[in-house]
């Protein structure tokens, strides 16, 4: 086995036993990244010099006995998360040269835990998309099949972890942007409970839905990353002052007696037969380990997409008003042009088509005369969706479903049909609306070799239950041990 195929936990063991140094591991990962990037395009910025400097510091910590589970492990960060001194573009032309003067809280936490940052991962512009094709810098390809999309918006993160050009990655998930690409690339991804991980220093898309979370190749690896990034942050007023449990301990809980809900609305028409088969087989594995299955109903599921595509664009249109060409980012200033000309030219030339579409949709939904019919109504239906989950969690400990209706589709297949593209998120966006944690993990491959994902959803702050379920599943199966052909 090559170094880049090790799990994070295995690599950490080798480091702490001093069988390899972080510098050696980092050099191997830089070589792996350089070998895979021409095909994948998972990174927007590569930071090998910074990585090696951080690896040297990690080796000192390892020698000094002050190393933690992540110390010296090479990783990548989604390019929508601020990294001091390293460009953060949100995959947009409007932030092409933006160099943040500070770290996002989660990056500061990772640095304190011994981060080695290989670079910044590609994404759909401002995290708006389900395929990474909305990146202003070109799409990422799926390592299992280069013709396929990696999913999105955190497509670079998922593709990179799958291909072994990072041991773990941090993405963001507003409607499925961690779980759907994790599913399409055959890795584990978690969107924690809203407020579990600080949003301070993350470029805002939809503030009531955005949440950062980890990608890794196993549930055990993912738990180590979540342990570091989770926790209250006084700099984010929406971060939750809830104690962080021992996630590693949760891995050993098992699933015996856990009540698992199967929402009938998530197993209806529109699911590809091979996805259904793989998910049903996975559920049988959990049943065999002692989980109790219950059929449940989330009756307002069919309204989720409409609610989401009102609320998310509405919040986005407000958040993205800050890109005005004044303080940072692109600024188009014609000779003798007015301030208004600067606003109009900067925004029209800086934003890509999907971002413009969502700003338009959100501005419309918030505009005089339409507010009640769209934004007001969506907020009310959001309440009904949340009540569905509350009632379900009175009967079950967690919910299981597919992550997406199909495996990864081909690049270019849906770029001209936004409504079809939005349907990719139909099983993931309700958890964002309700603020719940959700996790995606691999549960098989299609006949053409494209990964299929299994989703667990839990009540607020039930990340431990999701980890216990995921760990039990991965102890019984080998889907997560497969590597893509790249």
């Amino acid at each position: 086995m090559q170094l880049h195929q090790l799990s994070l936990v295995e690599a950490g063991d080798l480091l702490r036993r001093r069988q390899i140094s972080s510098v050696e591991l980092t050099q191997a990962m830089i070589a792996r990244l350089e070998a895979t990037e021409p095909n994948l395009h998972a990174y927007l910025a590569r930071t090998p010099e910074l990585a090696l400097k951080q690896a040297q510091a990690a080796d000192q910590a390892l020698a000094g006995g002050t190393a933690g589970p992540l110390t010296g492990i090479p990783a990548g960060i989604k390019d929508i998360i601020c990294t001091q001194g390293v460009t953060t573009t949100a995959a947009s032309k409007i932030l092409e040269n933006f160099v943040p003067p500070y770290d996002a809280t989660l990056v500061a936490r990772l640095k304190a835990a011994g981060l080695v940052m290989l670079g910044k991962h590609n994404l759909d512009e401002f995290a708006m998309g389900s395929s990474t094709e909305n990146s202003a810098y070109g799409p990422t390809h799926n390592p299992w099949d280069l013709k396929a999309i990696p999913g999105g918006s955190s497509g670079g993160s998922a593709a990179s972890v799958a291909a072994g050009s990072a041991f773990y990655a941090i993405g963001t998930d507003t409607g499925g942007s961690i779980r759907q690409p994790a599913s399409h690339c055959g890795v584990v991804g978690m969107k924690p409970t809203y407020g579990r991980v600080s949003r301070f220093g993350i470029v805002a898309f939809a503030s009531s839905l955005d949440q950062a979370g980890p990608f890794a190749r196993s549930v055990a690896d993912l738990a180590e990353v979540l342990q570091v990034i989770a926790g209250h942050d006084p700099a984010d007023s929406t971060s939750a002052p809830v104690p962080v449990p021992d996630y590693r301990a949760a891995l050993r809980r098992g699933v015996k007696g856990l009540k698992l809900g199967l929402p009938r609305e998530y197993f209806g028409e529109g699911i590809a037969p091979q996805v259904r088969q793989a998910v049903e087989a996975a559920i049988k594995v959990l049943e065999a380990q002692g989980a109790e299955l219950r059929e449940i109903s989330l009756p307002h599921t069919e309204y989720g997409l409409a609610v989401y595509y009102i609320i998310a664009p509405a919040e986005a249109s407000s958040n993205l008003a800050r890109y005005d060409g004044v303080k940072y980012g692109l600024s188009r200033r014609a000779e003798h042009g007015s301030l208004m000309d600067m606003y109009l030219d900067t925004r029209s030339q800086g934003f890509g088509p999907e971002v413009i579409r969502r700003i338009m949709l959100g501005t419309y939904a918030l505009s005089a005369g339409y507010y009640d019919a769209y934004y007001g109504k969506a907020g009310q239906v959001r309440t009904l969706l949340m009540r569905d989950f509350q009632q379900a969690f009175e009967q079950v400990d967690a919910i299981v479903s597919p992550v997406a209706p199909t495996a990864a589709f081909d690049l270019g297949q849906k770029v001209d049909d936004p409504m079809q593209m939005y349907l990719s998120d139909v099983f993931t966006l309700s958890t964002n609306l309700a603020g719940l944690p959700g996790m995606s993990l691999p549960c098989g491959l299609t006949s053409t070799g494209r990964p299929i994902g299994l989703q667990f959803m839990g009540p607020h702050f039930a990340e431990e239950t999701l980890l216990a379920l995921g760990q039990a599943f991965q102890e019984a199966t080998g889907h997560h041990l497969k590597h893509p052909p790249i």
Partner: protein
């Protein structure tokens, strides 16, 4: 038609976007598709249902009113498209 070309122009002006005629035509069609899907919300009876703006019942996060170090001016201006070292410079307004 849910949204007319005139409304698209109005919304673009509100959002400070300059759209080409081709962009406007394409967007009008796409926004109509999307808004047609939203119609299903109108069929749902939500009378008496409160609106949710936030999934967690967090109350206002307050901290002691103490001065703390903040971003130095130079760093705050470092990404400015134009500045005189003290302020952001923008086109003349008056």
């Amino acid at each position: 038609m849910k949204i007319t070309p005139e409304e698209v122009a109005h919304v673009a002006a509100l959002a400070r976007l300059r759209l080409s005629p081709e962009q406007s035509a394409k967007l009008t069609g796409q926004l109509n598709d999307i808004l047609t899907h939203m119609d299903k919300l109108a069929k749902l009876d939500t009378s008496g249902v409160p609106s949710t703006n936030h999934a967690l019942a967090l109350t206002g996060a307050l901290r002691p009113d103490q001065a703390r170090p903040s971003l130095p001016r130079q760093e705050g201006l470092a990404n400015a498209p134009d500045s005189d070292g003290v302020s952001f410079i923008v086109p003349r307004v008056i």
